[in-house]
């Protein structure tokens, strides 16, 4: 102690402390940041056990005690962690009420609970894993390619601007304006509800990243033309025309008509 106390005011102490603190924070972050997806993909034994408990409490009444499926709900054997992460993480599951399809909602479970459930389901049979941070990194993706892929593969249901569209019998392709990259990736991987599966053979990881980059552009880009009217196209334009635009013109006509008297 005497050794340290004596050198307390040495000029190199400040630098040494700073480097030490940075090393702790940096290494700590790296450890946490890289470990978490791996955890979700593989899952520790305790996590799997916690997931099983959550499953039995919240899911088994419909999906069955062994996740084998019942008359009310499909089997979850082999759907993979990605499907659980999407369905539970977007609040679609647990289902509030039977309907044409499960609507997105406020998630019922915390992120840890979702990870635990995903880890448990992943142990039942092999299935698509939750995408890694690397797979979700769309920073270098080709937005123009993403746009083309989006228009070919996604726009016929989700609409060219990602505003969603109607399917048959009350089903629908949801609006993508609030979707996170992870959920978009998982949806392509697992094909929830009416959506087809886009495996890596159909859309490579780079393609998926490009699509995510394009959807992010749609979500964030400013509208060069002014008010967007919901980007629904001619229907909302027509509604605006019939109400605001024509209302203003008629008001002007009435005003000029009254002035003459």
């Amino acid at each position: 102690m005497k050794f340290l106390a004596a050198r307390r005011r040495s000029p190199i102490v400040a630098s040494a402390l700073l480097i030490g603190a940075l090393a702790v924070v940096g290494l700590g972050y790296a450890a946490v940041g890289s470990v978490q997806p791996a955890q979700a993909a593989v899952g520790t034994e305790t996590q799997v056990e916690a997931g099983r408990q959550l499953y039995l409490e919240g899911c088994s009444s419909c999906h069955g005690l062994e996740a084998q499926g019942t008359g009310n709900a499909p089997t979850l054997v082999g759907v993979g962690a990605a499907a659980v992460s999407f369905q539970v993480g977007t609040g679609r599951m647990p289902l509030a009420a039977p309907g044409a399809q499960a609507p997105g909602n406020m998630p019922t479970y915390t992120d840890e609970e979702v990870a635990a459930l995903a880890a448990y389901i992943a142990t039942l049979a092999p299935g698509p894993a939750i995408p890694s941070a690397e797979q979700l990194d769309y920073a270098d993706a080709d937005i123009a390619l993403g746009g083309e892929l989006f228009r070919i593969n996604c726009a016929q249901c989700h609409q060219a601007a990602g505003q969603g569209g109607a399917l048959t019998q009350g089903k629908y392709a949801p609006n993508l304006m609030e979707s996170t990259p992870q959920h978009i990736y998982e949806a392509m991987l697992t094909g929830p509800q009416s959506m087809p599966v886009f495996s890596d053979a159909q859309l490579t990881v780079e393609d998926k990243q490009a699509i995510i980059a394009y959807v992010r552009t749609l979500q964030t880009e400013a509208s060069p033309g002014g008010l967007t009217l919901g980007k629904f196209g001619p229907v909302t334009e027509g509604v605006f025309l019939a109400t605001a635009a024509f209302g203003a013109l008629i008001a002007a006509a009435v005003w000029i008509g009254i002035k003459a008297r």
């Binding site: 060069p224 033309g225 001619p234 229907v235 909302t236 635009a245 002035k259």
Partner: protein, 580 residues
Amino acid sequence: MTTSSPIEQAGGATATYVDKRLGSNKFLSRNLAKVFPDHWSFMLGEIALYSFIVVLLTGVFLTLFFKPSMLEVVYDGSYVPLQGVKMSEAYASSLDISFDVRGGLLLRQMHHWGALIFVAAMAVHMFRVFFTGAFRKPREFNWLIGVGLTVLALGAGFSGYSLPDDLLSGTGLQIARGIMQATPVIGTWMAFLLFGGEFPGTSFIPMLYSVHILLIPGLILALVTVHLMLVWVQKHTQFPGPGRTNDNVVGYPLMPVYMAKAGGFFFVVFGIIALIGGLVTINPIWVFGPFTPDQVSAGSQPDWYIGFLDGALRIMPNWETVIFGWTISWNIMIPAMIMPGILFTAIALYPFIESWVTGDKREHNLLDRPRNAPTRTGIGVMSIVFYCLLWVGGANDIIAVAFDLSINAITWFLRVAIFVLPPIAFVVTKRACLGLQRRDREKLLHGFESGRVLRLPHGEFIEVHQPLSPKDLAVITSKTDIVPLPAPERTDADGVRNKLYRIQALRHRLSTFFYGDNVPKPSAAEIEAGQHHAAHDAAIEAPLHDYEDADQIHTFHGGVLHHPGMEETNAQQIADRSHD
């Protein structure tokens, strides 16, 4: 004549200078004083004219930068999400107009909004002309020109919608080609001829460009000129009012009143279109992307004026007949060719049908109040309901998403509603009109209910009825009572068979349908009798002469106002009562 101000002197000198060369003074003095009647609804056609001018001006600007070419290019403009994408030159130049031409997006949006307003103003103008009977003799030809202009406007709009070659444009053209192909026998050949081969080809958009910027605007300009000349020559119709007859025009002169009003209104319309064009996105082609036949977006709709056709296509059941290997596509022919064919033919011929049915061959310069032609008003509302239901059909997927409905449920609702709701709308409208006619009759007989309740000395409560103002009186009495055509005889007095019996019987039935329920205007004798009757009743029930102030209330017997000539006004009555 002395001219005082230098401005007048300069004006006079200029007019003389021009007149000596063109002889224009006589023409101007005759026409600048022309009188037009005044009503806000007479300006709906002006909205159409002015928005057309805005569309022409902005359209000229767009032609400077648009390239109607299907040549494939790689986009290298400033919109990042499309950089490096292969597209037609038409689409690339539309993107350049939107992002790289100064003011281009503003003018493109003004052009598109102006076009939507143009067609909408024509439609609403047509409603005004229809519901007020302004299409009657001598203005049937102008109605026909108006219908022609409407069809041309639809063509102008659709060809413009198809030009930028974005995903929506191409989807629209694909449907148009499908409709062409559904024509029996010649459909396939017609489509090949126009598209120069398989869809989409490279020849249609350049052709459409000439149609859009040259042919259709030229025809519209020519027809608008004739349309306005006819209004000028035949004079504008007017609503009934004091001093307004079938043979005069009450209003203000063109110079200076309508010059100022119409000129001002032009700038108002221009301003509104510019404001909307600057503030509200229309047709964001960069979002839809370039057209390729293997792509389509959910929620692909045409602009509003084609929406009814799209809706008809969407709700039509999938009926096809195969005859000797030839497919007859009823699923496309009925909604996209037969329905609009019947609709526009019926609209065009309506003035002639109505005058044949009613036998009304008189000239009409005084407008009808819609209630006084209940069957016509009912037919109009019925058609609007029919059209609006088709609109709903055209927007069925957007409505399904927005209101959480099943698209199948909407479609089935419409398949039933398209036959059920329009007749209900007809009956409800006709009954409402007849109710209003009855109300008018009551007003003529008893004056209007003032809402003022009086208590008579013997305890009875009455509501004071007041005489109509001269304006109301003129408006209500403008109604002309038309009697349905009489039922024809099978044989005449000499027993000769009436060869025209069947057609005359049909006319009799239709004419009864038109005018049979009419509530006749009370005659002068009836008005008199109604008042005497009420006075008599009141006198029996309330021997008012027993009261010393009976003279104060003598006008309010029996719940009705009756006094000779009905000229006492509300104010006078109040003044009378406050004397004591």
